[in-house]
């Protein structure tokens, strides 16, 4: 610090001039210089220079504090004025707070929902490094995603690629019957897998050694829940479980229950070696897709690179095995079956939201579409509420203009006024947030039931939710306040206070446009709700080709073996039972399905014929389900030859191109080859059944073949309408007599059938709720505007009445304007709604279309609602005594 102190000083002065006001810094510098001079005298120039600069830097925090101090005083003033304004216009504030809080609550629920959906599978510590093998089959113009790979794929990936750290294979299992001592339950969340599961996924072992728990055949690892269910505690190592009648399964480990936010929820994992896959060459081959295979990449390894190398590995092995099993080359096989194949890797974190078409999923996954739909509608609700705020603010502009004028005359800058208005909307937004939290606390249980989640209000305090929430509050405060702030603060005080404020033409037009927009949203949502529920009603009422009412389904009858027939005969003797049939093949989801190649007799290569559905049924199947025969006859007990007969549905007749199907023959290729040789047998067609919907109505009815045989996993009973409970009790007694200790599980065919449309029902409900909210918020706004304009026009109304207008005339005058707006909204929104919803409806191969009734109902409903909302205020204004109104002139 040897430089000239004078020069230093001047540079310091410039800083001070910036920080302090122009006039004020002079005295400050004066004092500074005086003290500086004193220090130079006492301690020398160097120390004085140091002191001088230190003072300048130490000034800065004081300066900042000073700024905050004064702005706080200003804000305090804004705050008081804002609260006064909010209190003095109670109705408007209520409308704003109510609307905004509903909008906020809806958006916050969306945030809750999205956060929960995004959390899936993230509990896995190595989640980012896990992906699974998927195959894409392309056939007959259809893409089929298959989640699965051949048995050898997992180990081959570990050996062949250094970037793969580990892999785990799963083999899905049907539900199993588990017994431990007296306790017997049916378990459906069961899978076969290997020890590496505990390395790849995060499922902490509570008992047992994760290295080798599943290495030996006949071993099983169970969840904590299952351990407590069967053994009442966790010390279960070495204990025995009986699974599907085999008593010698040993429990080798207990793992922590898998979290709710997982795409699988296994309660029991049986060891893969128990399946003895190697004994079945077809099952152990590269060309099966039965093993869900998950890969754990090494840290930093690229999944994309592995994905690129995958096809070469798989193609080579598959080619040799196709040759081995089918005697033809892979290319030949593919070209003959018209099939294309490709393989890929799907990241674990994509599974929950982006994987829903696949075959081989453990559970039904969610869909990113729900997130989008939900976000969109909740944002719309929020926008509607913001519009209310803007509309009411501009409508009140003339009332507040005087306030603006006076403030401006008294020296408020435009900036100050904008701050004032923005703060006001921020305060309303914060109050609305408080109310929204209240609303959420109230509706969360219902919301949980609707979405099948279990979210809690406490997670509101979590930064994942709190930050977006805070952001929303500020955003809404800003959006709602910005336009009024700009609009109102622009008034010229001279013209306002002279009393000739130009009637805010701009405000009026904007208001109308916004009201139209609000009702457009309501119209689209009402229309959407109507269409969805109309389609659902159609699905429930449409003839599905069989009679789904009054059919009782009993599960697990295969446990009885041959005695299943005894049970069937016994039940048939009861008068309440009209008919009974044993078959696992039912027109409901999760029933048995078999797709095997079926070919016309003259087909030279029947093995590569496209597989179609073959259902194994008994003699009473057609009568029990009341499936209609289109031509020919049903299976007959009298004719021995019917064991070699089949029934076709009409789609199959078209598929095979039969003109006269009766008497034709078909080749059915046995799907499980013995020693690599396929069996094929000829069946003659004895009848044709009318097409019936055995899949959801989303899909067109596919060709299928009914064949006589023994499939005993379910017993269907067509029962009388009366005393259903008694019938079930009878069935239970018969079941217990034959299969003591086995679980008694039954369901109704129509319920199982309708459950296929749960996701549509959910969309319908979300739409319905949000449509209701949209309409409610729109009406709140309309109510506010109507109140306001009725109040402003009291004199006009009074004069009208003095000159002989009736109350009805006045009401008509007041209501007309709003009805016009709602009408325009309908005109604009209905085409949009039509376009949107016809897209939705097209997802169903069988649909009612969008329907003209929907248009009429939507328009009628919106107009009626608007009338009721506006009419109340208008009638009140119109029925006032003109003498009283005009007296004050």
């Amino acid at each position: 610090m040897t430089s000239d102190p004078e020069k230093l000083s001047r540079r310091g002065h410039r800083i001070l001039a910036v920080l302090l006001g122009r006039s004020e810094h002079i005295t400050f510098i004066g004092d500074l210089e005086e003290i500086h001079a004193g220090i130079i005298r006492e301690k020398g120039a160097f120390r004085a220079g140091l002191w001088y600069w230190r003072e300048i830097f130490r000034l800065i925090p004081h300066y900042i504090f000073h700024l905050i101090y004064w702005s706080m005083i200003m804000i305090k003033n804004y705050f008081i004025t804002s609260l006064r304004n909010i209190k003095n216009h109670r109705m408007f504030s209520m409308i704003n707070v109510l609307g905004l809080s509903i909008g906020l609550a809806a958006s916050l629920l969306a945030v809750f929902y999205i956060r929960d959906e995004m959390a899936y599978d993230r509990y896995n510590e190595k989640a980012r490094r896990i992906s699974r093998v998927k195959a894409l089959l392309h056939r007959d113009g259809q893409d089929i995603n298959i989640i699965g790979a051949g048995y050898p794929v997992g180990p081959a990936l570990i050996q062949g690629f250094s970037e793969v750290e580990d892999a785990v294979r799963f083999r899905q299992s049907d539900s199993i019957r588990v017994k431990a001592g007296e306790k017997s339950f049916r378990e459906s969340n069961v899978v076969y897998s290997e020890s590496s599961f505990f390395n790849v996924f995060t499922a902490p072992m509570l008992r047992g050694n994760p290295e080798n728990v599943l290495s030996a055949p006949g071993t099983v690892v169970i969840s904590r829940l299952a351990a407590e269910k069967y053994f009442g505690g966790l010390d279960v190592l070495g204990k025995n479980l009986s699974i599907d009648g085999e008593p010698d399964w040993t429990v080798t480990g207990v793992f922590q229950d898998i979290p709710r936010t997982s795409h699988f929820h296994f309660d029991m994992i049986l060891s893969l070696p128990s399946l003895e896959i190697e004994k079945d060459p077809m099952e152990a081959s590269w060309i099966s897709f039965n093993f869900q295979t998950y890969v754990l990449m090494r840290d930093g390894a690229s999944t994309a690179e592995l994905e690129a190398k995958l096809p070469s590995l798989l193609d080579a092995h598959m080619a040799s095995e196709v040759k081995k099993f089918m005697g033809i080359s892979l290319d030949e096989f593919l070209s003959r079956s018209g099939m294309r194949m490709s393989f890929g890797l799907q990241p674990l974190l994509d599974i929950h939201l982006h994987s829903h078409t696949g075959v081989g999923e453990f559970e039904a996954n969610s869909d990113i579409k729900y997130i989008r739909l939900f976000t969109a509608v909740s944002l719309f609700i929020l926008i509607l509420a913001v519009i209310n705020f803007i509309n009411l603010a501009t409508a009140r502009a003339s009332g507040r203009a005087k306030e603006v004028g006076v403030r401006k005359v008294l020296g408020s800058l435009r900036r100050n006024l904008m701050g004032q208005f923005l703060l006001e909307s921020m305060i309303v937004s914060v109050i609305a947030f408080g109310t929204a939290v209240f609303i959420i606390g109230f509706v969360l249980p219902f919301f949980n039931r609707m979405t099948g989640k279990s979210m809690v209000l406490e997670s509101l305090a979590h930064p994942d939710i709190l930050l977006p929430a805070a952001g929303l509050v500020v955003l809404i405060g800003f959006l709602a306040g910005a336009y009024p702030a700009v609009f109102l603060s622009a008034f010229q005080p001279s013209s306002i206070l002279r009393g000739n404020l130009k009637r805010g033409v701009k405000g009026g037009v904007l208001r109308r446009v916004l009201v139209i927009f609000q009702f457009c949203v309501s119209v689209v949502m009402i229309f959407g709700t109507l269409v969805v529920f109309n389609q659902l009603r159609y699905i429930q009422n449409t003839s599905v080709g069989f009679n789904k009412e009054q059919v009782l389904i009993l599960e697990n009858t295969q446990l009885l073996g041959d005695r299943a027939d005894v049970l069937k005969e016994k039940m048939q003797r009861y008068p309440q039972v009209v008919n009974a049939s044993l078959s696992g093949f039912l027109p409901i989801p999760s029933s048995a399905r078999m797709r095997i190649p079926v070919a016309r007799m003259e087909d030279p290569e029947p093995r590569s014929a496209p597989p179609i559905g073959v259902w194994i049924v008994d003699h009473d199947y057609i009568d029990t389900l009341e499936i209609k025969i289109a031509s020919g006859r049903k299976f007959s007990r009298e004719l021995e030859s019917d064991s070699g007969a089949v029934l076709l549905n009409q789609a199959a007749v078209r598929f095979f191109g039969f003109d006269q199907p009766l008497g034709e023959s078909l080749l059915i290729v046995d799907s499980s080859p013995e020693d690599g040789i396929f069996q094929k047998s000829a069946y003659s067609v004895i009848g044709v059944v009318e097409d019936f919907h055995f899949e959801s109505l989303r899909e067109a009815i596919k060709p299928m073949v009914l064949s006589l045989g023994k499939s005993r996993s379910r017993l269907c009973l067509r029962i009388q309408r009366e005393d259903v409970a008694g019938t079930i009790e009878t069935l239970r007694n018969e079941w217990t007599a034959l299969a003591a200790g086995e679980p008694f599980e039954y369901s109704f065919l129509d319920e199982r059938f309708n459950r296929m449309y749960d996701s549509e029902l959910r969309v319908g409900r979300i739409f319905g709720v949000f449509a209701g909210l949209a309409v409610f918020i729109g009406c709140l706004g309309l109510f506010g505007l109507a109140t306001f304009s009725a109040a402003k026009r009291t004199k006009e109304i009074g004069i009208h009445k003095v000159f002989g207008a009736t109350a009805a005339d006045v009401v008509r005058m007041l209501v007309r304007e709003y009805l016009l707006l709602v009408g325009i909204a309908n005109l604009i929104a209905l085409p949009i709604a039509y376009w949107l919803m016809s897209g939705w409806v097209r997802r169903f191969a069988y649909n009612v279309g969008v329907g003209w009734v929907g248009f009429a109902a939507t328009t009628g409903l919106t107009i009626l609602i608007a009338l009721v909302t506006v009419g109340f205020q208008s009638t009140k204004a119109a029925s006032a005594n003109p003498a009283r109104i005009l007296k004050y002139e």
């Binding site: 004020e24 002079i26 005295t27 400050f28 510098i29 004066g30 004092d31 500074l32 210089e33 005086e34 003290i35 001079a37 004193g38 003072e55 130490r58 000034l59 800065i60 004081h62 300066y63 504090f65 000073h66 101090y69």
Partner: protein, 111 residues
Amino acid sequence: MNMLTKLEELILLAVWKLGEGAYGTTIYRHLQSVTGKKLSLGGVYFPLDRLVKQGFLRVYSGPTTEERKGLSRRYYQLTEKGFEALHDINRVNEIMWAGFGKASCSSGESG
């Protein structure tokens, strides 16, 4: 009563003590010698400014010196409101501090 910060209170007292001679430099030096702390000039200046705006102090210009490079002094004087505020503080202090001189760590007023 107005709740002033301790610093504001000390500044008002310093202005009163210094009487005719109360301007930035003297107030700063006085406070520094009384408190024994290395105060920042800004830390004195901004509160002074605030006290003027709030009406506790009034300002008048005074002569300059060679050392001040010709920049005028700003003298401060207590206003009526300033005196009142100090009296209030004094009253409250007397009530609050009554008997404290004899107090020791172990005993509070009540027990």
